[in-house]
Symmetry: C2
Subunit: 577 residues, 2 copies
Amino acid sequence: MKILRINMGAEGGPKVIETDMGEYEGLGGRALTSAIVSKEVPADCHPLGAENKLVIAPGLLSGTTAAMSGRLSVGCKSPLTGTIKESNSGGQAAQVMARLGYAALVLEGLPNDSDVYEVYINKEGVKVTPNNDLKGLTNYDLVEKIKEKYGDKVCCISIGPAGEMKMSAASVACTDMELRPTRHAGRGGVGAVMGSKGVKVIVLDDSGMKMRTPKDPEKFQEANKRFVNGLRNHPVTSKGLPSYGTNILANIINEAGAYPTFNFKQGRFDGTPKISGEEYARLEKERGGNPTHGCHRGCVIRCSGIFHDKDGKYLTKQPEYETVWANGANCGIDDPDAIAMMDFLYDNYGLDTIEMGATIAVAMEAGIINFGDAEGAINLIHEVGKGTHLGRILGNGAAVTGKVFGVSRVPVVKGQALPAYDPRAAQGIGVTYATSTMGADHTAGYAIAQNILKVGGSVDPLKPEGQVEISKNLQIATATIDSTGMCLFIAFAMLDQPETFQALVDMLNAFYGWNWTENDFVEYGKKVLKMERDFNFRAGFSKADDRLPRFFKVEPLPPHNVTFQVPDEELDKVFDF
Amino acid sequence: MKILRINMGAEGGPKVIETDMGEYEGLGGRALTSAIVSKEVPADCHPLGAENKLVIAPGLLSGTTAAMSGRLSVGCKSPLTGTIKESNSGGQAAQVMARLGYAALVLEGLPNDSDVYEVYINKEGVKVTPNNDLKGLTNYDLVEKIKEKYGDKVCCISIGPAGEMKMSAASVACTDMELRPTRHAGRGGVGAVMGSKGVKVIVLDDSGMKMRTPKDPEKFQEANKRFVNGLRNHPVTSKGLPSYGTNILANIINEAGAYPTFNFKQGRFDGTPKISGEEYARLEKERGGNPTHGCHRGCVIRCSGIFHDKDGKYLTKQPEYETVWANGANCGIDDPDAIAMMDFLYDNYGLDTIEMGATIAVAMEAGIINFGDAEGAINLIHEVGKGTHLGRILGNGAAVTGKVFGVSRVPVVKGQALPAYDPRAAQGIGVTYATSTMGADHTAGYAIAQNILKVGGSVDPLKPEGQVEISKNLQIATATIDSTGMCLFIAFAMLDQPETFQALVDMLNAFYGWNWTENDFVEYGKKVLKMERDFNFRAGFSKADDRLPRFFKVEPLPPHNVTFQVPDEELDKVFDF
């Protein structure tokens, strides 16, 4: 595997350099993006300046025959949080990039002109060319243009207008198996960094390339089989997710009283049944969409889906749980079609659905529009896409929006909006939000597993006891999983089935010729977290930044009327390892 | 002396409570505001929430016959920086409030309604009444209304529309001797906190009240004489400042190559002669204004002035050096009338002239208007006053504006804009900007004295050596001076004349019956800084926040082509005491 670097700021135009893995040997996905950012990017640089780098890396097992190995890591110093950032996406890109032989693509420098660039990579090599016809295009329009030029066997990594405008909520879009830009590295404004580099789209074509070959193909295949069996045996990965997608959680989290509603004012939303996973699946079946679909080749869980509008025409992917929550309950909106439209617009403009939903709720709290106003919310998203002044405020996320409009209840940690679980009614995820190296991020240590789903054990969600321990262990394991290229949803099976965890370790060993034990898997994650945390300290963060906004500690959340109770001293222990 | 507390959030409406000094005995000005904020405000609270407090405190010697003792401290947790904040203003308020017997006025809680309140304080007591006729008024219009109601012997502490809109660049205005709202606690968004409390104006009437009486009146008067003599003997306080005001610095700092121009791109501005203190004084004399004027009773320096427009009509006070720089050289504007108009508008809308000038320059860097476009700049200020979306962005300062428009060169420390000295060509002030407990603030430790003015010694401005030592000592001394109610400009004489320093210590001793030595003066300042720094640490700041934006370390500044060279490890030593 090679590292492909494109210096966008080179004299005379972009310069392509390929290097060996060198000191980064053995790293993939998040471990690789965080290592390159941590080592090569000055921690105190401006995220949109020449010294930041955008690192796009498939995982250790991407491009192999391993099931579920299609996750892509996108890393940089985040313009949203100022921390190090790894934002993770499904879609086809990771598999294709890995098959093309690249462990990472690194965009460096700032272009000397205001041209918009297209990067094309196939077995012949790499071409970086200005293509100002792409300027300002939405992601769907962009992909159409790319199809016309390169056919439909390619895949795209792209930004929409939000990324071009360098908004802190801008995402990097990856196309799915149908060549639709529906899978996004959403969090942390990675799209703005891509925009600052002047790169609109990276087109990947792996025609003529083969699957990556393991050191021990036989053992690898055997381990993969055990791994797939594990996923097929676990109820979450074999039933819940395939049938209804991630939004199967809506009713569950609502029932638990941890479903943040009206900008985190209460933990249950009356309109939940109208926007639940079950209801979306029903609508999808009724209208000719599909609730069971995979976002990349090799997926055996198939939690994605396809949503059709009232006329039976494709509108967007099946909106994810986080998207439905952020733009639904959190904004007081219970119209599944409106939320699906919002999902489409976010994908099209290239925006993080979580950050934007949280932002619209803050704008509602500021009185810009009323809670429940779906049409108003859709209009706000268009403002963002057009880059009006209001749109630029909103497109820079909840923290900026709160500041600009003088709102005091702003649910962010390190500048990033909290996802779809209220930390008062699921205190384990609160620990993750507070302490994650990424700002508030549920995927960094998904304590909902033990707090609510009773996967991997059971810890009372309403009490502070035991939360630090589960969050710590999850954060460590996740850092490794995010490095393998594996979809995080494998964790449900791994947490409950030691044999499935072992199968993954065996796959890594068979592929790389390693001798990892489960302990090495854990140590790898610790190393990644330490690297990230060291970057953040150098960037100006301290333990005192590992805190939830104060209102979670003083405002009780109905219906359980709980506040966040984990003491600061306990939070400071998460990284004692 | 008493502490007056108004709980704006009390059930049934605002509640007034008077208490003794208690544990705050012996504290005044900044020491008192910082002590109350540090002790009573949760460091992690939202600056615009119910838990923040706005503390308004005259200094230890305010309300006495001591010359120069009319400075007012306004403290809170800052919505601009998130740090503790003491913002300092001239004008009449400090003397009047002290004579009314109040060491501090503390606004607490958040009102339960959206009414706008007027606070009236005279010898009879305190009245807090809703007065929605004042809603949305500019400071000048507001003062006219107050005059109609209460006559012209009162003084006002007020906010303009910016404060009502809770903008982070909103100031608290204090009226001067002519009852004009020209003196502002500008920095840190203290006006937004006053706005959040629902208080539009505090009207102070000290009719029937006397000067405060020293424990030893004779010694006090004698020390005050020596003190005044010292000021009359120093060239800066006896000649430079009275003749031309603070803007005498324009030519000096420009000559030194430390005059930030075009958003900190170069250290000299071709248009400086057109906007110098000398030129303003000439215009003022020519048009019937006045370059020599005091902003409060008892001032013997008289650095303020009165500026008339081309038709010989009063327009605004003589614009200060920082104002002229921020909105002049830094924006590429060399029209003294345009800058005076901007000064008037800032005072009228209630905005910090430094933060706003820096913000407009960032907006120029973003391409919103061009550098040098005075008319465009004036229009932008009106946008802020009107509270349009663009105006709300700008009114929240340079950091937010930079973020919203994706600008990577944003000259702020801890979210507050750098004032009028480039830290690359005056490295001592760079140390102060980086490490001050207040965010970038020249008044916190005015190293320009030794770096450029050769007052209190001489340290090469272009080299890192010796800068930490001078900044440290200045920051400590300033913390005490800001607590006395004395105008900071006394420091020029104090630094060069040990006998003037002694005279100030003698005045404090004679007034309070203390036995301070110069060492106690220094220890007092250290205590204040430690208190402030402790608050900031609890609010999430660390040593790694005590840094200049990276571009000062990597972009050389013409004409000297220097970068900021003081190493981080040195910066970390400022608070080793």
